[in-house]
């Protein structure tokens, strides 16, 4: 994961590097095919591992007979959950299920029970992937089928129900609020199980050396998470596990979970060979964590002026076979764009015999936003108000409280909404029948956990910046740009390498839109420390006091004698002979990333005879705080929008009667193709984030959040039908149109 950036374009405003469209550091490797992704590895003696998965959605495993598989020529080893020391050593405990290694072990290889169709049961290592796959089919598993909990509606809240946990948020008195309302809208809405749809399947290669050191090459959003889980599951110290990151071919939250690494390690231990495991696309769909399906009920009231007087929000999210849905993500953000005095929010985490869900871009928030923003649109209609006007009427501002009770820091959602309202798209005429326009806005809050970084000054005046934060979409560049800004260098002169777990301090997973912000803070801190050390070195060479050295635009000067002048590069060349190289390691504690806001305007056309939705025009709005790389920010907005459109219209897990996933290929799991989308216009506004020296806000996730509702609202305005279930597939729209016709 290393490369250098090329080409710079002039920065704007107070910045020289930040805000430019510099060429991405990893770009050349990726356009030439040189970048090495999860499966792009081979080595001598390599074996290939394959997994056997359960055909049953819920069953007890009576026995597993691997003898026939082991007898197949070419097979070198077989593993089951019994090979995980943690399975034998610790009882299953669902508290903290999301990060509990015992639960992770159970998901990776089923022990005693299979909990969903596609649940891994055993794994084989063989001399070729074909032999390994053949061998998995020779493993005999004796199952005793159990009752399958399919729906997981969360209706039953009694003890012994399938509700794993409950979150409640309350403010004011909702009954009183509804009493003040002129208009009340109540809706039940639901969303489907969806997959992150990354194009690169999970892949991991592990080598267990005779001395007990385990090396893992893997595609993951967090190498330290892989290390922690693997060492816990295998019962070995973390220091014995080294995780080397490969390029990640898309994660979107899905690759924050782990499935293969400990299995490949166990197979390597058993065979004495390195073992590579790569999932098929079918395994990705049936064996990894999709995003949650949800059922939601919303009741919102507003007075005649448009003030929202009360909101009641009930959410039940399907966690899948183990607790840990993203319901809190929805419960804590859905009403976030609105300042509401009275609300009651109840979120339920519901288990059922489906894949254990994982995060998916702004986990849990799209579902909730779909519910709230649909109801807001309906409220506006009932009140005869412009939907953006209603939003502006209730807009949150600095000092108002988030649904969690935390006060908003400096924000300007009003500016975003007004930008939408005055945008030419919003007032452009919509000509022709069956066309409609929808809007929605979204809030996402971000936490923070701090980040370490190491910086070295090279003799040629470039910088090597070392981090452990996986780069999913360009953060090597955006982090390097922030260091370059401080040091007066070009972005390409800061060479950022993402290294393995032995080479850098514990670093958090790339999730929560945090890397550009938090690793940026670390890069800035490291650059400032380098600047301080460099100034001291200049002072030493000039025989002046460090305070007398100034640094500006990449040049050191002495304020006592103007003749003394050295560029960063010149000084870097003199380090070796003036006391040695300059290096530093920093840890930047988080300042709290804070809120982000996004909005969408979309025009659609519906074919009333087939129910098909065509996206005619799309404009995505985002408050980026300060866009470090505007091209990348646009890319986040466009990609998120495309995913949201797929979620809204065409993507869904379909299950058989027996509870197996019926559509395990990209043929029937329909992510949008280039034909299904128009150009996606972007409008970036910049309300500086007070928690970041350059004003950066989180941009990776929030752009997907308003998409589902924006499209649904557009469909409503095109057809007069409120689509309260996703996806709005042609069949579903056709049915809704027929039902409407029957009513009329």
């Amino acid at each position: 994961m290393t490369a250098t950036a090329r080409q710079e374009s002039k920065g704007s405003g107070p910045f020289k590097v930040v805000g430019t469209r510099t060429t991405r550091h990893d770009g050349v490797d990726k356009v030439t095919g040189r970048a090495r992704f999860g499966a792009d590895i081979s080595m001598s003696g390599l074996l290939h591992g394959k997994v056997l998965r359960s055909p049953h959605a819920h069953a007890r495993i009576r026995s597993i007979d691997t003898s026939m598989a082991e007898a197949l020529p070419g097979v070198k080893g077989v593993a089951t959950a019994q090979d995980f020391p943690i399975i034998r050593g610790q009882a299953l405990d669902f508290s903290g299920a999301v990060s509990n290694a015992r639960v992770t072990a159970e998901v990776i290889l089923a022990h005693e029970r299979v909990m969903y169709a596609g649940h891994a049961v055993a794994a084989v290592a063989a001399t070729s992937p074909h032999i390994a796959e053949e061998a998995t089919r020779l493993i005999r598993v004796d199952y005793e089928a159990s009752r399958v909990e399919r729906l997981g509606s969360g209706e039953d809240t009694s003890p012994g129900s399938n509700i794993a946990s409950h979150i409640q948020l309350k403010r004011g008195d909702v009954e009183q609020g509804f009493g003040e309302a002129e208009v009340i809208v109540e809706r039940e809405l639901s969303t489907q199980t969806i997959h992150q749809g990354y194009i690169e399947p999970f892949a991991s290669t592990a080598h267990w050396a005779p001395d007990g050191h385990v090396t893992i090459w893997t595609t993951t959003q967090g190498i330290f998470g892989v290390r922690a889980s693997t060492s816990a599951i295998l019962g070995i110290p973390e220091s014995m596990v080294k995780v080397i990151p490969m390029e990640v071919g898309g994660g979107f939250g899905g690759k924050a979970s782990i499935y293969l690494d400990p299995v490949a390690a166990v197979l390597s231990k058993k065979t004495g060979h390195p073992v590579k495991m790569v999932m098929t696309r079918k395994e990705v769909f049936e064996g990894t964590g999709p995003g949650c399906a949800a059922i939601m009920r919303v009741k919102m009231g507003a007075d005649s002026s448009g003030r929202i007087t009360a909101a009641q929000f009930w959410l039940a999210y399907q966690a899948g076979a183990f607790p840990g849905s993203s319901v809190s993500g929805g419960a804590t953000t859905g009403t976030g764009p609105y300042n509401i005095d009275n609300f009651l929010i109840d979120g339920y985490d519901v288990v059922c015999n489906k894949q254990k869900t994982s995060g998916y871009r702004a986990p849990g928030q799209c579902q909730a936003n779909f519910a709230i923003e649909t109801v807001i649109d309906e409220l506006a209609e009932r009140l005869g108000m412009d939907p953006l006007e209603l939003r502006l009427k209730n807009v949150v501002k600095e000092g108002d409280r988030m649904p969690t009770g935390v006060p908003f820091p400096y924000i300007d959602l009003r500016k975003l909404e007004e930008t939408m309202k005055t945008h030419p798209h919003y007032s452009a005429p919509l000509e022709g029948p069956n066309r409609g326009r929808g809007v929605a806005v979204a809030f996402r809050g971000h936490g923070g956990q701090g980040a370490p970084a190491t910086m070295n000054v090279n003799a040629d005046g470039t910088i090597s910046l070392i981090t452990g934060a996986i780069d999913l979409s360009g953060t090597r560049t955006t982090v390097a740009m922030q260091a370059a800004e401080v040091l007066g260098l070009a972005a390409k002169d800061v060479i950022l390498t993402v290294v393995d777990t032995d080479s850098v301090a514990q670093t958090g997973t790339t999730a929560g839109s945090r890397v550009t912000f938090e690793m940026g803070l670390a890069a800035i801190a490291a650059a400032q420390e380098v600047k301080r050390q460099m100034s001291a070195r200049a002072a030493m060479l000039w025989e002046v006091q460090p305070e007398e050295v100034e640094f500006q635009d990449g040049v050191f000067t002495c304020n006592r004698s103007p003749a003394k002048r050295m560029t960063f590069k010149e000084l870097a060349g003199r380090l070796a002979r003036s006391g040695g190289p300059i290096t530093c390691s920093v840890y930047a504690p988080s300042t709290g990333i804070g809120p982000s806001f996004a909005g969408n305007i979309v025009d659609v056309e519906i074919d009333p005879e087939t129910g098909k939705v065509d996206i005619l025009r799309y404009t995505a709005f985002l408050d980026a705080g300060q866009a470090v790389h505007p091209g990348f920010v646009e890319g986040q907005m466009q990609g998120a929008t495309a995913q949201g459109i797929g979620w809204a219209l065409s993507e869904e897990y379909l299950y058989t009667e027996e509870g197996a996933v019926a559509n395990t290929s990209f043929l029937d799991y329909r992510t949008p193709t280039s034909m299904d989308l128009p150009m996606i216009d972007t409008v970036i506004i910049q309300v500086p984030n007070p928690h970041h020296p350059f004003g950066v806000r989180a941009v990776g996730e929030v752009p997907i959040v308003p998409t589902l509702a924006a499209v649904a609202n557009a469909v409503y305005h095109a057809t007069g039908v409120r689509m309260t279930r996703l996806p709005m597939s042609p069949g579903a729209i056709l049915e809704a149109l027929e039902a409407k016709k029957a009513q009329e």
Binding site: H130, T610, S650, N663, F666, D668, T673, P730, G731
Partner: protein, 294 residues
């Protein structure tokens, strides 16, 4: 998938001999865009794949105003839709072949393979039916021909006996004042499987007002692609009017025997048969009127 023997004969005789596996599970391989996927999904296994692409007769593509179209079974889709003569004489075949999979798939996938795969949703099959194609079959007992609408016998099943293979498709020259169109409905615009596919061909009188004959074929609404004979026949002698088209659409709906599966409900499919039949007929009639007057 289990390994298999790969053979690439260069003559029909050799191919027929190799296809008759004497108890071995043998399949013909043309573009491979269906069979390799099915093998990997363990839908079935083979002991031998007979690659038929090296046989000259199967790569034949001849199209003329004298003899019509002869399409070798191993001719990939792109050769069909990039052929200017076919585009002029058989636009419905171009409609269908340019919808099958991606450009990548069309580089390999063949009309013959699409037919032999016998999927109810096979996009080229309704187009072949409305164009009156016949299948040239070679086998251990010699040659025979079968009307294309009788070729598929069920999902994934066809009339080929062990050792038999599809050699080519023969399409008669379309008459003057005729036009045809194939279209399908899919949730995505491309890269999808037909929820319903409909092909329609019409022959108009010299005044181009009256329909002399018509054929309508339906995909994905029965165990095999279906010739909706009655729907086409009721148009014979009728004005090419909206009312007539509406009636044909109704008859096509009646002919459909769809199931509900992950790609659509039976009800949705029946409805779409009506919608697409009207659209297919509309374009077929328009194409008939566009052609050069005889």
């Amino acid at each position: 998938m289990q390994d298999f023997e790969y053979v690439a004969p260069t003559t029909l005789e050799e191919a027929v001999r190799l296809l008759d596996g004497n108890g071995l599970k043998v399949k013909a391989l043309a573009g491979g865009t269906d069979i390799l996927v099915q093998l990997r999904a363990n839908r079935f296994q083979v002991d031998r794949l007979v690659d038929i692409k090296g046989i000259p007769e199967l790569n034949q593509l001849s199209c003329s105003e004298a003899d019509g179209l002869t399409l070798g079974a191993a001719v990939p889709c792109y050769r069909v839709y990039e052929d200017e003569r076919i585009a002029r004489l058989y636009p419905a075949l171009v409609d269908a072949t340019s919808l099958i999979g991606s450009i990548q798939v069309q580089s390999r996938g063949t009309v013959g393979g699409n037919l032999c795969n016998a999927a109810p949703s096979g996009d080229s099959i309704p187009a072949l039916i409305i164009l009156g194609a016949t299948c040239e079959i070679a086998g251990p007992k010699g040659r025979r021909t079968v009307q294309v609408e009788r070729f598929c016998t069920g999902p994934g099943r066809n009339v080929l006996e062990p050792g038999e293979m599809l050699v080519s498709l023969k399409l008669p020259l379309p008459k003057a004042n005729s036009g045809a169109h194939f279209l399908r409905f899919t949730p995505r615009k491309e890269m999808d499987i037909a929820v319903v596919g409909v092909g329609a061909s019409v022959l108009l009188d010299d005044a181009r007002q009256r329909i002399l004959s018509a054929r309508i074929a339906l995909g994905a609404v029965a165990p095999t692609p279906l010739l909706a004979r009655e729907a086409g026949d009721l148009l014979a002698g009728r004005e090419a009017s909206e009312a007539a088209i509406e009636e044909a659409a109704k008859a096509a709906r009646a002919a459909a025997r769809p199931i509900t599966d992950i790609r659509g409900t039976a009800r949705q499919r029946t409805h779409l048969v009506g919608v697409l039949t009207k659209r297919a007929l509309g374009t077929a009639i328009a194409r008939a009127k566009e052609g050069k007057k005889p």
